[in-house]
């Protein structure tokens, strides 16, 4: 956190993100929780902007908000009569899940604080990230990470074909 304005923006975004994430997992109506998922993903994009990852913020808005969340909404509407309020949305282990999550969160936070005090806090501040982040990002993708880039495109093609084959109506 460099300046107090950034701190204020961070706390607002974090508040919105956590509230909407809690709504996603706890609302009865699954359509409303999908809408809150969109809000949560937007605030994650805001966090990316605060962390100097502008390309990732744009990709987050395009891919998650534009594609994945809309896909979720389509799936919910195609299976609509199951999303009504009469159906129980949570299974029997709500209490167990709550305690497991709280304990996991507590342990993770304690470990984070301990590690921060002992290791990360003592690191000397290195050079900051370059201001022209997107240029460096593109150079990496085209030189050093060429092979994973191509493999990921093949993976996307395979997912596309697999989804079409799975969801196609079978003709007898």
């Amino acid at each position: 956190m460099t300046s107090p304005q950034v701190g204020i923006v961070f706390w607002i975004i974090a508040f919105v993100m956590l509230i909407s994430a809690f709504m996603v997992v706890s609302l009865k109506n699954i359509f409303h929780s999908a809408l809150f998922l969109i809000l949560c993903l937007f605030s994650v994009a805001g966090i990316y902007v605060l962390l100097q990852a502008e390309f990732l913020a744009a990709a987050q808005v395009l891919i998650y908000v534009g594609a994945v969340a809309v896909l979720m909404l389509f799936a919910i509407m195609l299976t609509n009569n199951l999303a009504s309020k009469k159906i129980r949305q949570a299974n029997r282990n709500v209490l167990v899940g709550f305690f497991v999550s709280v304990i996991f969160c507590f342990i993770t936070l304690v470990l984070l604080v301990k590690t921060y005090v002992s290791v990360w806090g003592k690191l000397k501040p290195q050079a900051v990230l370059p201001a022209q982040n997107v240029l460096v990002f593109g150079k990496y993708l085209m030189t050093k990470f060429m092979l994973p880039f191509e493999v990921v495109s093949v993976l996307l093609l395979a997912a596309l074909i697999g989804a079409i084959v799975l969801a196609r109506k079978e003709r007898s």
Binding site: S33, C40, L51, I63, L82, Q89, G97, S101, C105, V152
Partner: protein, 99 residues
């Protein structure tokens, strides 16, 4: 930095709660997306504060975003198939592979 990592940890825990407690398969997948996003925030925060001489964290989270999108596509296709064959997408009704 501690604030970003703590935020990601809390977000991951909320997603884990959703994965454990949701009955609807689409709800489980939405909680999974929350967990992916928590991991991405961790990568980008480490890239900003610890390893500042390269952009490895950002590139890795870009790949995570792409793979998560592919996973969502295939998962939702499976959800539609389940709905067509069983008329229900609750995860405790789909137990034909359970022995």
């Amino acid at each position: 930095m501690l604030a970003y990592l703590s935020l990601a940890a809390i977000l991951f825990s909320i997603g884990m709660f959703g994965v454990i407690t949701r009955r609807n398969v689409i709800g489980i997948m939405m909680s999974l997306e929350l967990m992916f996003n928590a991991v991405n925030i961790n990568f980008v925060a480490f890239n900003k504060f610890i390893v500042t001489d390269s952009l490895l964290g950002q590139i890795f989270s870009a790949f995570i975003i792409v793979v998560a999108a592919a996973e969502a596509v295939v998962g939702l296709a499976i959800v539609l198939l389940l709905y067509r064959n069983w008329q229900g997408i609750n995860s405790d009704q789909v137990n034909v592979m359970k022995w």
